[in-house]
């Protein structure tokens, strides 16, 4: 019996969410009294053995360049094989674009119950149940998984990274990967350096910013705070900002440690995508704006006056001239 953790990577590096999945998987293995292993499809430039410091014993790697492009059918076949040979009872992913592509198909193939968007370690005293976000963050559900093998995907930022000492043993797996039906034609990078769903701090602007030409201060503040930028739906719909920045019920759901909302009214559909943020700061010139009800800190003031002051203060704090 073991917990098997999917080691997601891009451009030769493990994603930040992979370390969260590792930390979660190792804690879960401890809770169940079993071992934790990683599974790596494709190649990375990083030291694999050092992943042992997150509490895993082995990494099973299929060392083939072709696997650096994700093909769900190929991935599912390989993962099902490795899960069977390692006698995995729980398979852990981070709930990101890779997991959304692979985990459901793996679940169907292995007939292993799947719960996505998990936010805490499972309850295992009787049965196996996990807490997941439902109603777009407006509630959570405890879901029991009834099958012998269980698959869970954990929300980014829901579990903190824990590391200590240790080294993992690298096990090479050779598997015939059959021809893929999906061809990757091209990949383009988003403008921001920090992926929105992985960011610990997010600075977000709404229609109160008046126009795309006024985004300079938001980008400057984000840069100073090492944050990603986001926006409300009308801002993306008007083409002021890229669609990939749209957060909310019909956009991306995020749960950063700090969400700074500037000139956003706080409509229920917007809140649905951000209400899992640990701390929310709202800057809005209308003191009656609904967003203040969900905020931890608020400033009722004009963004165009408040933002320069904030930027100054952050620069001073960080010692940037």
């Amino acid at each position: 019996m073991s917990v098997l953790i999917f080691l997601d990577h891009a451009d030769g590096h493990f994603k930040k969410t992979t370390f969260e999945a590792l930390s979660y998987g190792a804690a879960l293995a401890k809770q169940l009294g079993v071992t934790a292993d990683g599974v790596l499809l494709g190649t990375v430039t990083e030291d694999i053995a050092s992943l042992g410091k997150y509490g895993i014993q082995q990494v099973h790697q299929v060392n083939q360049e072709s696997l650096n492009a994700l093909d769900t059918q190929v991935y599912i076949r390989i993962l099902a094989d490795i899960a069977a040979s390692t006698k995995a009872t729980v398979i852990v992913f981070s709930h990101n674009s890779s997991a959304k592509a692979i985990a459901p198909g793996l679940s169907a193939r292995m007939k292993a119950g799947l719960v996505t968007g998990v936010i805490a370690l499972p309850e295992t005293s009787s049965g196996f149940s996990v807490k997941k976000n439902v109603f777009s963050g407006k509630a959570s559900a405890n879901v029991s998984i009834k099958t012998p093998v269980k698959i869970i995907t954990i929300n980014p930022n829901a579990y903190h990274i824990v590391s200590g000492e240790g080294s993992a043993k690298l096990v090479q797996v050779s598997i015939n990967t059959d021809a893929s039906k999906i061809k990757l034609k091209s990949a383009s990078k988003a403008s921001g350096e920090i992926p929105l769903t992985e960011a610990e701090i997010v600075v977000s602007g709404g229609r109160g910013m008046k126009g795309p030409e006024n985004w300079g201060p938001i980008e400057e503040l984000a840069k100073l705070l090492n944050a990603a930028t986001a926006c409300s739906r009308p801002v993306a719909d008007s083409g002021w900002r890229p669609h990939a920045e749209h957060v909310g019920q019909t956009g991306i759901a995020i749960a950063p440690n700090l969400y700074i909302a500037i000139g956003i009214s706080g409509a229920i559909q917007h809140l649905a995508g951000v209400n899992r943020s640990k701390v929310i700061v709202v800057i809005n010139k209308d003191p009656e704006a609904p967003f203040f009800k969900s905020a931890d800190y608020g400033i009722a003031g004009d963004a165009f006056e408040v933002l320069p002051k904030l930027i100054q203060a952050v620069k001073k704090l960080k010692g940037v001239a």
């Binding site: 891009a10 109603f135 061809k183 209400n275 009722a300």
Partner: protein, 247 residues
């Protein structure tokens, strides 16, 4: 070409979320139901656009739901589509739903299956991938653009770091999100036409569920906002640094 679009019903985005029956059931009383936005705005509208371009396409809609979803499926048909199928079952877990749809898709030999990116009530992001897994078909999730040329689809898929353009030979399953199409409002002609288009009701296959919701919880209430005077905006930075320890 035969296209199948998966349609689910969800509470309106402004619906109050509350639970009954010892927090085991969603309090559905008085709730307005809508077509899941991803299914309507993106999956269905894109499929309709494909059919408008190539009238030889057959477009069917499917939902796994009890009769109270008929109004929703009719509303979807008013936007477009030749026929709707309702698998007469309470939508239980994702595996159950996907198995029902996979069975219909296999029998009907559909070449293209569209789902939404996720339901806004269960937030599974699972049903599409499971259908593909059950039928051993290629699956492309989180599609923001979709073009069809013969039997080959070119799909732009959103990932954390940006976008990927992929080419896939059909049959296949695609989950759709923002970017695929623009929201449409059904017109009178569509609404009238939908009444004469068939809504077939079929009984479910016996399929077990793999998961089960035991209880729901509402998030803890916020403890109230700490307001900072606009003249003293710098104070916010101090609080975030010293009190919240976030920057």
């Amino acid at each position: 070409m035969k296209i199948l679009v998966c349609i689910s019903k969800t509470p309106d985005t402004t619906a109050k979320i509350a639970f009954t029956d010892n927090n085991r059931k969603f309090a559905a009383e008085g709730v307005q139901w809508i077509i899941n936005p991803y299914d309507e705005w993106y999956a269905l509208v894109r499929a309709i656009e494909l059919k408008e371009k190539d009238p030889s396409i057959t477009l069917h809609l499917i939902t796994v739901a009890t009769a109270d979803a008929d109004a929703i499926i009719r509303k979807a048909l008013a936007l477009g589509g030749d026929e709707a199928i309702r698998v007469n079952a309470d939508s239980q877990d994702s595996y159950f739903i996907a198995s029902q749809i996979a069975a219909i898709a296999r029998d009907g030999a559909y070449e293209l299956i569209f789902t939404g990116k996720e339901t806004i009530d269960y937030n599974g992001s699972s049903v599409g991938g499971m259908i593909a897994g059950l039928l051993d078909l290629p699956y492309i999730s989180l599609a923001a653009k979709f073009e069809l040329a013969g039997n080959t689809a070119t799909v732009v898929r959103e990932v954390e770091a940006g976008e990927e353009t992929e080419e896939v030979s059909l049959p296949g399953v695609i989950s759709c999100q923002k970017g695929m199409a623009e929201q449409r409002i059904p017109n009178m002609k569509g609404i009238m036409g939908a009444r004469s288009r068939p809504l077939k009701v079929v009984e479910p296959q016996p399929v077990e569920t793999l998961t089960e919701i035991i209880s729901f919880e509402l998030p803890p209430a916020k403890k109230g906002v700490h307001m900072i005077p606009a003249e003293n905006a710098e104070e916010l930075v101090r609080l975030l640094h010293e009190e919240a320890k976030l920057i």
